[in-house]
């Protein structure tokens, strides 16, 4: 009996010694590693038996927590590049388990479209979702925005906005397509969309991501206003964004919250070296290359 009690005390003490370094190791485990490996959809489908909806929800929350964790840890500066392809694969896999899961489509639209830039893939995903979520106006609304803003395919955008309008019974979407079809209205289109998305968002990580994006587009809008003033007075486009600052048209100087640098394209459009996404290793490389050439 005494031996057993001694053994129990020894086990408890060893556990106490171990748990602190163990918890420390788990907390500091690289975030990318935490997204982990997920088997193929066919295997997941078979293994999840009658729990496919749960499996889908788990995959989506895994991606969300991974992304939220990255944002939290790095305070908007991602020194570890997020594994966007893995996130995208997981989201695409999850909707094959439960094609009705709105969180998956929403995350793909809120984060992956902007940061990965694979708009065609995103639109395919949205079209896939529309086949199932036939009542949901969000999906055609997202697709309409993607067509108008990213692809500049205005007839397709109008078609999707019309569909969103039919589903909500509101004329707002029908007029949206027409209102922003001008190149000059692109920033306003993006801002209107982002304001609407940010307002309805309750997840802190996604909300933060929207706010950062809104801040970036507000800066673009500010530069556009200054550029137009410059053009009115001098009759030509400014050479650089710095010229606008020097002329006193742009004060304080614009700051890209993604860590990039704003510049004027030859046709006067405003771009940024960050491409409105947090730096990733590949993008960092591209950026350096781009800056070297300039």
């Amino acid at each position: 009996m005494r031996k057993t009690v001694l053994f129990l005390i020894l086990s408890l003490l060893s556990y106490l010694f171990l748990i602190v370094p163990f918890a420390g190791y788990m907390r500091s485990k690289p975030i990318v590693e935490k997204l982990g490996y997920v088997p193929t959809v066919a295997v997941l489908k078979a293994a999840s038996a009658d729990q496919k909806e749960l499996m889908c929800a788990l995959l989506v929350s895994k991606v969300l927590m991974y992304f939220g964790g990255l944002l939290d840890k790095q305070k908007n500066e991602l020194s570890i590049s997020p594994d966007y392809p893995a996130m995208s694969r997981m989201i695409h896999g999850s909707v094959q388990l439960d094609p009705y899961n709105m969180d998956a489509y929403y995350f793909a639209q809120a984060i992956l479209v902007w940061d990965v830039g694979k708009v065609d893939i995103a639109n395919n995903l949205l079209n896939y979702g529309m086949r199932y979520r036939t009542w949901d106006w969000y999906l055609p609304f997202f697709a309409g925005f993607n067509y108008a803003y990213f692809l500049k395919d205005y007839p397709s955008a109008a078609r999707y906005y019309r569909r969103a309008g039919e589903l909500t019974g509101s004329d707002l979407f029908k007029s949206l397509a027409g209102r922003y079809m001008q190149e000059s209205g692109r920033t306003d289109l993006a801002l209107a969309y982002l304001y609407a998305m940010e307002k309805g968002e309750k997840n802190p990580a996604i909300k933060k991501s929207f706010r950062t994006r809104i801040k970036a587009f507000q800066e673009v809008r500010r530069i556009e206003v200054a550029r137009d003033k410059y053009r009115e007075t001098s009759g030509s486009l400014p050479a650089t964004v710095d010229a606008l600052v020097r002329e006193g048209l742009l004060s304080p100087p614009p700051v890209d919250p993604y860590g990039g640098r704003f510049f004027l394209e030859q046709d006067g459009r405003i771009s940024t070296t960050s491409k409105f996404a947090f730096a990733t290793r590949e993008k960092e490389g591209e950026k350096n290359k781009g800056q070297g050439e300039r």
Binding site: L54, L64, M102, D103, N203
Partner: protein
């Protein structure tokens, strides 16, 4: 037979299985807070989690109660004294099955009420875009219970075949997993991608599709979670499928059990 049903139920309650379920059901109050992790479908996520928890508990109950009921009696040599009474073996087996099935229905009802409370609470805090279709939720839980009663029947078949504990438990789990993918495999081998498979594989898979239970028919989770209309004729067909398949499994079990030498 009625007596055996009653005794079985009493035995299950005496083994504190119901208390075990209640302990597991303590997870239910946590569901609303877990569901708030969802970005756009909090109520739907709480339904997903509640229905998954019910399915999981019913699976454990059906595998362990169904797989151990006969085995335990034979092991403890209860069958000697029971079958010495003027009682047919078929009556004994069907009574044991009936008791387990009634318990599963009871558990499904109690867990269903807990799930309803959870969903009412979540939908009150985060109103869903589309109202919860309660009839679908009830149907989903009922068909889940039917699925697991069918699993119990298959556990009884395995139990009547073997004196060991392993075949009923692992056989039932394997059948459960296979029963959930048969439809998927069948759809695959009849798609263009599946046409490259050898005819032997395709015919074997087709044959198994008709022999193994098709459990995906009982899965109404998507209809319950997203309020998608259910097909009444489909449900009637599934209910008939359940009755006939369970009847066939039980008849086979009775046949084997009646011929078995119990020492």
């Amino acid at each position: 037979m009625g007596n055996i049903v009653r005794i079985t139920l009493k035995g299950i309650f005496r083994d504190r299985v119901f208390q075990g379920i209640l302990v597991t059901a303590l997870v239910f109050p946590l569901i609303p807070s877990i569901a708030t992790l969802s970005m756009r479908q909090v109520t739907e996520l709480s339904l997903t989690l509640s229905l998954s928890l019910i399915s999981f508990i019913l699976l454990l109950l059906s595998v362990f109660l169904g797989g151990t009921s006969l085995w335990k009696d034979i092991e403890r040599r209860y069958t000697y004294s029971v079958l010495g009474l003027p009682l047919a073996r078929s009556g004994y087996l069907l009574g044991r099955f009936g008791g387990t099935a009634v318990f599963l229905l009871l558990a499904a009802f109690v867990l269903g009420v807990a799930a309803a409370l959870v969903v009412i609470c979540t939908s009150g805090m985060y109103p869903p875009d589309r109202p919860v279709v309660w009839a679908n939720v009830a149907l989903c839980i009922l068909f889940d219970a039917m699925k697991y009663i069918l699993i119990v029947a298959s556990a009884f078949l395995f139990s009547s075949l073997s004196t060991s504990f392993f075949l009923p438990i692992f056989g039932t789990i394997a059948l459960f997993l296979a029963g959930n993918v048969t439809q998927q495999v069948y759809d695959y081998i009849h798609s263009t991608a599946g046409s490259t498979l050898s005819p032997l594989v395709r015919h074997t898979a087709s044959g198994l599709y008709y022999v193994l239970p098709n459990l995906s028919a009982f899965n109404l989770k998507v209809n319950a979670i997203y309020g998608i209309p259910v097909s009444v004729s489909g449900l009637l067909l599934t209910a008939c499928y359940f009755v006939i398949y369970t009847m066939a499994l039980l008849t086979l079990s009775v046949l084997i059990f009646s011929r078995r030498e119990l020492r």
